[in-house]
Every structure is written in structure tokens, then in C-alpha cells.
């Protein structure tokens, strides 16, 4: 087993463990921090796969953006020190069963299907290539989705403000 393989297994293990902790931890603040580590683990796997840009985006957007957002909303909505309630055993059981069934189904179908793996190692996709593709309107370019996403983000921005804005009591 080479060092590279070992790195992968460690990253995978870390991701999974923190993922499980995220969904089971009874303290919501800790759950958020576990989520952060889990996301970092995923970013590590991106690095391991040689997708530096994607890994960077993962860290910036997820770790830096979404997790912080979640932490803020926890501060806003949660009394400190309160623990999350323990779900009922039956609920746990059936949820686990459902998750397991889904897992079994996915894994069975994945392993029954033989993917045509190409032996080539992909060349490193450079940042400038990504940038050019992102803004290219021609074939293989992503100018349209890029624009659509920008509109979506703007809409989300406005939507968030509209939803979360504090209305004055007398304005109702």
C-alpha cells in the first residue's frame, strides 16, 4: 500500500466519521463543527484526486461560507447549553433501515455495473482553462449556466432579504 493510498483511506475514514458524528451529535454547535471537518475531508479527497480548484472552492464556499452561516443561525435560534432531543428508538431503527436499504440498492447496482474506466490519468486542469471554459459561449463552454447561476444567486440574495427582514410590529 503506497502512501497515496493510505492518504485516501485516512481521508475517507475521517469524512465518514465526522459525517456520522454530524448526524448523531446531541449538541448542535458541535454538529456544525463536525460538519466542517467532514467537508474538509471531502476537500481533501478533491486534492487527492488532483482537483485543486474544486478543493479550494469547496473550502471557501462550504467551510468558509455555509458552515459559518449555519453557525450564525445557530447563535440566532438556539439557547446555549440545550441539548438536542434523542430520537425515539423506533425512529432510529426505521431510519437506519431505510438508509441501509438505499445504500444496499446503490451499492448493488454500482458493483453490478462495470464502468468503462479509462486508464489515462487526466492532466491537471489549470485555473485559466477553467476560467476560459466558464465564460466561453462556444462548444464545451459554460457561459449560459454561468449567467443563469448568477441570476439565481441574485434571486436568492433578494429572496433571503425579503424572507428574513424584520417587519415592524405596527406594520402588520
Amino acid at each position: 500500500m503506497s502512501g497515496s493510498d493510505l492518504v485516501f483511506y485516512i481521508l475517507a475514514l475521517m469524512t465518514l466519521c465526522f459525517g456520522v458524528l454530524t448526524v448523531t451529535s446531541r449538541q448542535i454547535f458541535r454538529a456544525a463543527v463536525y460538519l466542517l471537518f467532514c467537508l474538509l475531508g471531502v476537500a481533501g479527497i478533491y486534492f487527492w484526486l488532483n482537483y485543486q480548484f474544486l478543493a479550494a472552492v469547496q473550502i471557501v464556499v462550504y467551510a468558509g461560507g455555509i458552515v459559518v452561516l449555519i453557525l450564525f443561525s445557530i447563535f440566532l435560534t438556539q439557547q446555549s447549553g440545550e441539548k438536542l432531543p434523542v430520537p425515539a428508538v423506533s425512529r432510529k431503527f426505521f431510519s437506519a433501515l431505510a438508509a441501509f436499504c438505499a445504500l444496499a440498492l446503490v451499492l448493488v447496482s454500482v458493483f453490478r455495473f462495470s464502468f468503462a474506466e479509462s486508464g489515462k490519468r487526466s492532466a491537471l486542469v489549470s485555473m485559466s482553462q477553467i476560467g476560459e471554459k466558464m465564460l466561453s459561449p462556444g462548444e464545451g463552454g459554460y457561459a449560459l449556466p454561468f449567467e443563469v447561476i448568477s441570476v439565481l444567486l441574485l434571486a436568492a440574495l433578494i429572496g433571503c432579504i425579503v424572507i428574513a427582514i424584520k417587519t415592524k410590529p405596527d406594520a402588520r
Partner: protein, 104 residues
């Protein structure tokens, strides 16, 4: 313990997805539900990247799809949190079991 490849990553992603799913079913707090959803989204991204890496290494679709999914996820998270905060203001709670007015 063989050399990690496509199937390893797919397995990892499936496990991560089911973890998120388990969380989605068991948790009651809306913020933790959101975290579970983020886990699931990440597992999907992992899938796409793995296919991009191992099956079509000469193409970049998987990479870009992941990027867009991250962008959408960011927007979705922001909206979800706005909704959660609003719900907290009106209900003084963000427990999904208590926010069930939208029923028959």
C-alpha cells in the same frame, strides 16, 4: 485494501449519502436537517468528480457540474437559513415537528 479507484470513491459517496439520509430522518432541528442535506449534496459532488476523474478523464463536465452544484447549494443554504430564521421569529422554535400547519 486495494489501490483506491472509482469504486472506492463511489462507495464512500454512497455511505456519506446514506449518513445524510439517516440524519434527515432522525433529526428534528431544522438546522441539523440542513446539515444532513449538505452531506448528501457533497456525496453527489464526490460522485461526479469520481466519474470525471476515472471514466472521462479528457473531459471536464464533472468538474463544472460540481462547481455549479456548490453554487446552487450556497444559494439554497442561504435561503434555508432565511426561512429558518423567519420560522423562529413566528414560532419561537425551529422544530420541524411543530411546523406542520401546511397539512390537510
Amino acid at each position: 485494501m486495494t489501490e483506491p479507484g472509482l469504486y472506492h470513491i463511489l462507495t464512500l459517496s454512497a455511505l456519506l449519502f446514506c449518513t445524510g439520509m439517516y440524519g434527515f430522518f432522525t433529526r428534528r432541528n431544522l438546522i441539523t436537517l440542513l446539515m444532513s442535506v449538505e452531506l448528501m449534496l457533497n456525496s453527489v459532488n464526490l460522485n461526479l468528480v469520481a466519474f470525471d476523474r476515472y471514466v472521462w478523464p479528457e473531459k471536464t463536465e464533472g468538474l463544472f457540474f460540481s462547481l455549479f452544484i456548490i453554487a446552487v447549494a450556497a444559494a439554497e443554504a442561504a435561503l434555508a437559513i432565511a426561512i429558518i430564521i423567519h420560522l423562529y421569529r413566528t414560532h419561537k422554535s425551529i422544530d420541524v415537528q411543530e411546523a406542520e400547519e401546511l397539512k390537510y
